[in-house]
Subunit: 340 residues, 2 copies
């Protein structure tokens, strides 16, 4: 897998906090009510930006942009701040209620039904980034309405690496806007079914080729999330596939995709020296390692409800799991004499 041209020139000096480059994420901050075959929770901290931020916070300082209501209080803030996540750009809407999602998963956790979605403070959300968040060199646009994603993107002219997620709702109801947003990012992170729906192509290879044909500008790398099967990375001339980490018990898949994105983007940001050395390219080997870290973070996410597992995760656990993933995917290529 060769490199993909992405990592733009630095608008130097880096905006760093201490030793760390900051990552800005915009997306939902939510209360989730979730029922799975293994139990249920009536109200837990959730939302794409939260799951992303917790996962990415192991690698770099993360700034969360998004609205919350009066019901978002100290205990929720504490989870983020304990992980040194910057909450200055979390907008408190007086009299508002935090975004709420209720869902239920089927027995093998491969299907889920949304029982209730209350946009609440998201209905009139207009992202306003602080100078610090605008100065981030790495940006993740979690799954929100694509106009909003673009307005955040435009506020971050210094961003050198921008990744995004989306969902079937926007593919179906805001396709033109979504395509504009996609044209402004370096990496698209979507479920494989969404990639097929977005492109009307029956398989990943064709779907990725279609998306690359829309540019430039546009993504130079596509990460296809495949749920329990793992994830694949497609670049204009390369493919990398990685199975999900095998777990005896998947308790709650909510947020797995955002934790994947957090590990993936976080790892890339943490290897900025490698990005700089590659001179405007995204090295294929770096992307693969980022996939492994994303996969590891996603696997921890699903081991318990909501943010519970990732919130108490340690560096050693992450390293150990990436090491296991590496072991579980390795094979030697010993030929045998074939008969013809």
């Amino acid at each position: 897998m060769s490199s993909a041209a992405v990592w733009g020139p630095s608008a130097a000096p880096y905006h760093r906090e201490g030793q760390h480059l900051s990552i800005t994420v915009v997306g939902s901050i939510a209360f989730d009510a979730v029922k799975t075959p293994f139990g249920e929770r009536e109200r837990m901290l959730g939302g794409a930006a939260v799951h992303f931020a917790l996962a990415a916070s192991f690698f770099e300082r993360v700034r969360v942009v998004g609205p919350v209501g009066d019901d978002f209080a100290e205990p929720e803030l504490a989870v983020l701040e304990e992980h040194a996540i910057d909450t200055d750009d979390i907008e408190r809407v007086p009299g508002g209620k935090t975004f709420f999602w209720r869902g239920e998963y089927g027995w093998d956790l491969n299907t889920r039904e949304t029982l209730d979605t209350q946009l609440n403070v998201f209905e009139h959300f207009e992202p306003k980034l602080s100078p610090e968040s605008r100065a981030s060199e790495v940006l993740f646009l979690a799954n929100i309405q694509p106009d909003l994603q673009r307005r955040v993107r435009e506020q971050c002219p210094q961003a050198r690496f921008v990744a995004m997620d989306s969902m079937n709702l926007w593919i179906e109801t805001a396709r033109d806007s979504l395509l504009q947003t996609i044209a402004g990012v370096d990496c698209l992170i979507l479920n494989d079914a969404e990639l097929r729906e977005l492109t009307a192509k029956p398989n990943l290879v064709q779907a990725a080729r279609e998306i690359f044909s829309w540019g430039p500008p546009g993504p130079a790398a596509i990460a296809a999330k495949q749920g329990e099967y793992g994830a694949a990375l497609l670049t204009p001339d390369g493919f990398f596939g990685l199975p999900a980490f095998p777990l005896e018990a998947v308790v709650d898949p909510t947020g797995a995709g955002d934790s994947f994105a957090g590990g993936f983007v976080g790892y890339l940001a943490a290897r900025r020296e490698e990005l700089d050395a590659a001179g405007g390219e995204l090295p294929g080997d770096l992307l693969r390692r980022a996939m492994a870290y994303g996969t590891a973070l996603a696997s921890f996410n699903v081991e318990e409800f909501g943010t519970e597992r990732v919130a108490r995760l340690t560096a050693e656990e992450i390293f150990a799991r990436v090491g296991e993933l590496s072991e579980m995917t390795r094979f030697s290529d010993v030929r045998v004499p074939l008969r013809r």
Copy 2:
């Protein structure tokens, strides 16, 4: 991944044909009518035993056991014999008609509908193996009624490695018999959905643990076929995951699972010296390489209709694809300093 105890003692001397150990396969020999988004065929050579035999024939001599009708004639036989497949145990049923299957695939080829199944000569099939087929040390029980699978197994007391496939029909209608058959094999090769259905467990890790708990005797390795996502190998203490080879165009998935089994079992049989050296164990590294060869053969199978692609495949193409698979799954594990 450590070894799994499977490869039994040799009933020496090996039954070899020339330089090659023979593999016996029992299963359907069929005419298939298939419609996919890329075209259709009204009548083509198919059946699990045929797809398996063509794939495995690159590695060892294969003996096919199964019934055909008067309509199975020289052109069909020729495809097998050109690949040095032994057809002596193909039973011609006078006045009978060959097994027939008609199916249609959905746009992304992940769903298929069976439109017609005519058992024909299979309805009263009673496998009778020749002394040569009985003497095979490697046996594959393709997807047929589990009583029949067992009757073949019992005729091959010298078999040192036995693998099997099955399907949802037998899980639902002949479960007790199927469990008895499973207890007599070394390796179970099933779709992941079938593994879940068989065990009523929601994920692969739990499903495999359940199956291992039924033994001994029973399988020491389980290959879970995951369609477009690839395949996973589970042993009592190990896991290996391999993505499918990414293809721009999947034309016809029919027989992919049997081609996978043919590459997998064929590679193992061809490495009999390695099996012997392991002293009654199935080395994990050997199983992984077998998975890669199975994955490569399956990927060729789906590139064209029926047996068309595998029938003209070359050793160099197989080696090249396994090499590409190895490249597409490799990643280095470079750590970054984490923040906590």
